[in-house]
Structures are given as C-alpha cells and as structure tokens.
C-alpha cells in the first residue's frame, strides 16, 4: 500500500512544549482523523508537514518526496483548510480565486465557481463579510479548485453548526471517492471521526499514543465499568484511562487484558467518544 504521508520521528520543541518522536503514515485513498485535546500537538504536527515550522529533527515525506527538498512540487498537490481563514479581508471571492490561480497549474475556474455555487457564496462578496462557516467554505473551495491529491484540514468544523459540518463531511466523502486521494483532518468532534475516518491517530502531550485503522481501534479496546470496590490495583495497572465517582468507575482497557478483570466488572464495546476521552485521561501510559 502506498503512503501519501509518512512521518518518522518528528521532533519540534518550543521551550517545554512541542512534539516528540511523532511517527505515523497515511495510505493513499484513506481518511485519517488526527485527534487530541487542545495543546496536544495536532496543529504543530500539521504545520511541520506544511513546512510552516522548521522541524528540529525527523523526516516527513509526502507523495514519497521529502517535504523540504521538494516543497513547491509537493504543495502543488496539497489543499489546506485551517481553523481560521488566511485571505486578505478586502478581497472578493473572485479576487481570492484570481490571487491563487497562478500558483496552481491544475487550477480550474469552473471547479472554483462550481464550489462557490454549491456553497451558495456570492462571488462579489468580500472575505470580511463572510460568516465563520462561509469562511471555511471558501477555504474548501480554494483547496479543491486545484485538484489536490492530499487534503489537510486543521479543525475545520470547530464553531460550525450541524448543517455546515454535514456539508463539509459530504464534500470530504466525495473527494475520497478517488482512491488516489487522501485526507488528514484534525478534530475534537468524534462524530466526524465516526462518520468518515478510516484511520485514527491520537496525540497527547506531543506524543503519538495510537495510530491504526478505526476498526482495529474499536476492536482492540473495550470499556470496562464496575463498582469502586472492583477497581483493584491490578486492574488500575492495566486500565489505560478511567474516571471514578463515589460509587463506580469507567475506563478503557485492551481487549487482550480482559482476563485480568475481576467479577463485578463488565466490558462493553467502546465508542469513539469514549476512546477519545479515556485516551486523553491515560494517554501517558501508552506513550511509555
């Protein structure tokens, strides 16, 4: 399986924060959800992929090429959507397209106009007149207008209403029907992951704690629940992350370690929400 993105041992430090030993790959034709709490290192990793940040060490390959040595080549086929817009606020949508077109040999005015139409964006409207959801849509229109093979989205659905999020997910599903294209998107919203992600990568405190297919992930971990009295020391050493109340506890554990459960503890299939919550609570156990 060819990888569209390969990251090996990426390290980037800003004082006492940063990312360390980040490694994961994204095969062609798939969508990867990049998950982590605020400050986990998602945006830092994405910026390093786009060479917005200079990595301290490590290797990043996109389309099999080093992202530094072949920067212009590689970026020609990448579409980017960030959580905040980055166009001159006095530009109209027509001017925005005209500003970007010369950089991309595969830019299609027809595609751009089609996207504006689809999103019901008036071409003569200025960037500063757009709502947050519309600003995200114009980014998508610009990202897709030059027929990229790799879409990178950094928290694109934050602050969007359910309808706008659904529209975005539909666009991504349509994009990925071409098996030579891939998507990497970072998100907090687990329902987005459940809808479209094939792969999930968890990052916590600058380290990757899990990177695998969504199915493997859901298969590998289960939720365990029980009374506080059943939360033995051996279970605590096995459980990855958990919460406890005055009377009971709930957490996640590897399915292979179910034998360590005592009586009175039940195991259930985990949802993506639960995995995200409990990985965040106990992520450092997985990075050791």
């Amino acid at each position: 399986m060819q990888n569209i993105l390969e990251i090996k041992n990426l390290r980037k430090k800003f004082g006492d924060f940063g990312v360390e030993n980040v490694s994961f790959s994204l095969p062609k034709g798939y969508i990867m959800g990049f998950v982590g709490k605020n400050g986990a290192g998602k945006t830092t990793t994405i910026k390093a992929i786009l060479n917005m940040l200079h990595r301290d060490s490590g290797e990043i390959k996109i389309f099999g090429k080093d992202n530094l040595e072949h920067e212009a080549d590689v970026k020609r086929k990448i579409g980017v959507v960030m959580d905040s817009p980055f166009f001159e606020e006095n530009w109209t949508l027509i001017q925005t397209g005209k500003a970007l077109k010369p950089f991309y040999p595969d830019w299609s005015d027809a595609k751009y106009n089609q996207m504006l139409n689809k999103f019901q964006l008036s071409p003569t409207k200025k960037i500063k007149e757009l709502s947050r959801g519309m600003k995200m849509k114009i980014q998508i229109a610009c990202a897709l207008a030059h027929d990229p093979d790799f879409l990178i989205l950094d928290e694109p659905t934050g602050g969007l209403d359910a309808v706008a999020r659904d529209e975005l997910m539909d666009e991504l599903k349509e994009f990925i029907t071409n098996e030579n294209k891939s998507i990497l998107f970072s998100t907090h919203i687990t329902s987005d992951l459940e809808k479209i992600a094939d792969y999930i990568t968890f990052i916590d405190n600058g380290r990757i704690i899990h990177s695998d297919t969504k199915d493997n992930l859901l298969e590998k971990y289960v939720v365990v629940k029980g009374g506080l009295g059943t939360l033995s020391d051996s279970l605590k050493s096995t459980i990855i992350g958990y919460t406890e109340t005055r009377v009971n506890f709930e957490g996640i554990i590897e399915k292979s370690k179910l034998s360590s459960l005592g009586s009175g503890v039940v195991a259930e299939p985990a949802t993506m929400d639960e995995l995200v919550v409990y990985f965040n609570k106990g992520g450092d156990r997985l990075t050791r």
């Binding site: 940040l53 212009a72 980055f86 166009f87 001159e88 606020e89 006095n90 500003a99 010369p102």
Partner: protein, 236 residues
C-alpha cells in the same frame, strides 16, 4: 519565474488597499516642495515616503493571517523574499518617475526663485540641470533603499505590530538631519548653516551622488541577505 510573477501580483494586492496613503504622502511631499520652492524637495521626500509604504504589505499580511497562505503556496521561501524585494524595486522606479515628473513641474513653476538661489549657490538648483537631476535621483534612490532596507528585515523578524516603529525611524533621522541647522540656531550655535546637509551635498554634488547610490545598493543587498536568512528560518 511564474511563481515570482504570481507573488508580485500578491504583493500588489496587499499594498493596493493603502492607495490613500500614497495620495496623502504625495500631497505632503508636494506641499513641502512648494514650501521650499524646490522640485528636489518634493522628489526626495516623496520617494522616502514611498519606501515607508512598503511596510504595509507586512501589516496586511499580519492582519489577514496571510503568513499561513504564503506558507502553504507551492513556492519556496527564497522566492517569497525575492519577489518582495523585486516589488520594492518596482515601486522605487515608479516613485522615481513620479518624483521626476512632480519635481520638474514644481521647478517650472518656481523658476524665478531658482534664479535667486543660483545667485546664492552659484549653481543651477532646478532639476532641469543635469548635476541636480543626478543628485536628486541618486539621493531618492539611496534614501528609499536605506529606508526600506532598514525596516524590512525587522518586519520579517518581529512582524508589523512590533516592528512598525522601524518604518518611521529613517524618516525621523532624515528630517532631523534636514532640520539640524534650524535646531542649532535655537541654541545659538555659530554659523549653523555649515551643518546644512543640503548645502554640503550641493557643494560636493558629484561625490554625494556616488555616495547616495552606494548607500542605496549596499542597503538593498544587506537587507535582502538578512531578510532571506530570517524568513527562511522563521516559524509561521
């Protein structure tokens, strides 16, 4: 080369919203030229101001978060800096053309007062004379590039918000140098006119022409080298 053209267009789009500043600075420079009865004064002050306006693409970039856009475009950072400096030179040459045109108009209007100044200095001070034209061109060239050359690396390093003071420092220094005789006069310094930069340059017009050209070229080259080094290593 194709990317350079696209980047130049982007820089033009970044500076275009500040057209009113061009008009304002043109007006101020023209009034100064009228006040001093000198096309030379208009030409030089206008080009210095035009250099100051070259800081505004940085403001616009920062305001619109466009550093993110530049960072994801399929081009490299060397090209981004090179295009910015090419744009600076394009604006310089356009400014010189406007400066010459405006200066010649003023000198035509004030040809009588030039006759009086000719009596005082012994040379023709209008832009219609070749030595004065060459001095004006080189001084405009040199001061524009000194202005832009000074501010641009700082703006790349710290951004517009923190670095905007640097766009005004060259103007303040030049204005202070021009006002030096008047200031010294206030402190009863004997013969303050011997510190008149304008007089010194007129008296040594040939060497002043070459010095101004040299200052401009050296400023531009050093500025480009520093800007490139800073931007290539900058985290967006």
């Amino acid at each position: 080369m194709k990317n350079i053209k696209a980047l130049l267009k982007l820089d033009y789009l970044l500076v275009a919203p500040y057209w009113l500043w061009f008009v304002l600075f043109f007006g101020i420079s023209f009034i100064l030229g009228v006040f001093m009865n000198q096309g030379f004064a208009f030409m030089v002050s206008w080009t210095i101001f035009a250099g100051t306006i070259m800081a505004f693409p940085f403001e616009n970039t920062e305001k619109s978060n466009m550093n993110m856009l530049f960072a994801q475009l399929p081009t490299n950072r060397k090209s981004i800096v090179s295009a910015r400096y090419m744009f600076i030179f394009i604006v310089l040459f356009l400014s010189l053309i406007i400066g010459i045109a405006g200066g010649l108009i003023l000198d035509t209007i004030f040809s009588n007062s030039h006759a009086e100044m000719y009596y005082e200095f012994g040379i023709n001070l209008s832009l219609f004379s070749l030595p004065m034209m060459l001095l004006s061109l080189s001084l405009s060239f040199g001061l524009y590039l000194l202005n832009v050359g000074f501010q641009t690396p700082f703006l790349y390093k710290v951004g517009y918000k923190k670095g905007k003071i640097f766009m005004w420092i060259p103007i303040i220094v030049v204005q202070a140098a021009m006002m030096l005789p008047a200031i010294l006069n206030l402190f009863n310094v004997e013969n303050p006119n011997r510190f008149n930069v304008f007089n010194i340059m007129i008296d040594n017009s040939t060497i002043s022409t070459f010095i101004a050209l040299g200052v401009g070229i050296v400023s531009a080259v050093l500025s480009y080298i520093f800007s490139r080094k800073i931007y290539l290593n900058k985290d967006v």
